[in-house]
Amino acid sequence: MKCIIIDDEKIARVILQTRCDEIDSLEVLEDFPNAIEAIKYLNRNRVDLIFLDIHMPKFNGLDFIRSLKNPPKIILITSNPNFAIEAFEYDFIVDYLLKPVQSDRFKKAIEKAKRKNLTFISSEPNSSVKEIENDFYVSIDRRLIKIDLPSIYLIEAKGDYIKIKTENKDYIVHSTLKKIEEKLPDSLFLKIHRSFIINIKKIIDIEDNSVLIKKDVIPVSRSKRPELMKRLDLL
């Protein structure tokens, strides 16, 4: 993957360059101390991945993200995860790394970026390759919380909020069911009612108009039932 680094701190750029040198598949084309120079470069050159510092003076990382027309994958670099919250609204944001960047965490982020590329490539019909992201991030009280996707068994609409129920904990997130549905893999999740998305692998029991997941009995809309039954045939 061809990448560039944008960070106003010289030491951060050197650290990222060194981390990139550890991975054969990464080629750092350029590094930039500010986002304006990077935009000029991107107008003339194509890259696969950008390491982007969020907190920069004047034109910050979020301004940069908003200015991109055809954004490549982006890994955010930050001292404070709160600054990354807004950016996670965008699909092309792969991950975020806290400064100073640690080797293991860096490698995981690169693997995620590669998986995202693979998903894109394999999205043709009949492709047998299907990559599923195993986690995603939600913002709660100005903090980014990572949730393991397979651990989610139920998502319920609650007015302007959604309640995400996992094996270990429940989360209340300011979002809509529609928005989160777009981010979930079809192979695991299905909206079975206007207020509920379920993890179909967690179903214990099905009755005519409801499913039992853990201890929750969830209604199934009449219109959603055929899709649910079709999915279960595939399991």
Binding site: V14, T18, P100, S103
Partner: protein, 105 residues
């Protein structure tokens, strides 16, 4: 109190002397300048400017392995963004520890 160290830099450099030297050079060059800027901004009472400088310095604090120092900087930065100087003395102790340490590396 914890002491500054080169553990992170050594791990990152993984035996590459040039990388290690470059990182140390950046710290030794930039940190004194940032400390000066900090002192000036404290004198002028420009809270947002002080917070900006702390934001830059705290990356170096964590690179030098000061976990508590990083938290102290975080708290002070947060307070400054709310126009509060609480945490100044603790933060300046961290600056002094780094000032003394970089003379030895």
């Amino acid at each position: 109190m914890e002491s500054p160290n080169l553990k992170y830099i050594n791990q990152l450099a993984a035996g590459d002397a040039a990388v290690k030297e470059e990182l140390i050079h950046i710290i030794k060059t930039e940190f004194p300048e940032e400390k000066k800027e900090y002192c000036k901004s404290i004198e002028s009472g420009d809270f947002s400017r002080i917070a900006e400088i702390i934001h830059r310095v705290k990356h170096k604090i964590s690179i030098l392995g000061l976990i508590e120092g990083y938290e102290i900087a975080n708290v002070f930065e947060y307070n400054l963004r709310n126009s509060d100087l609480k945490g100044k003395a603790a933060f300046e102790k961290v600056l002094m520890a780094i000032t003394a340490y970089i003379k030895t590396i």
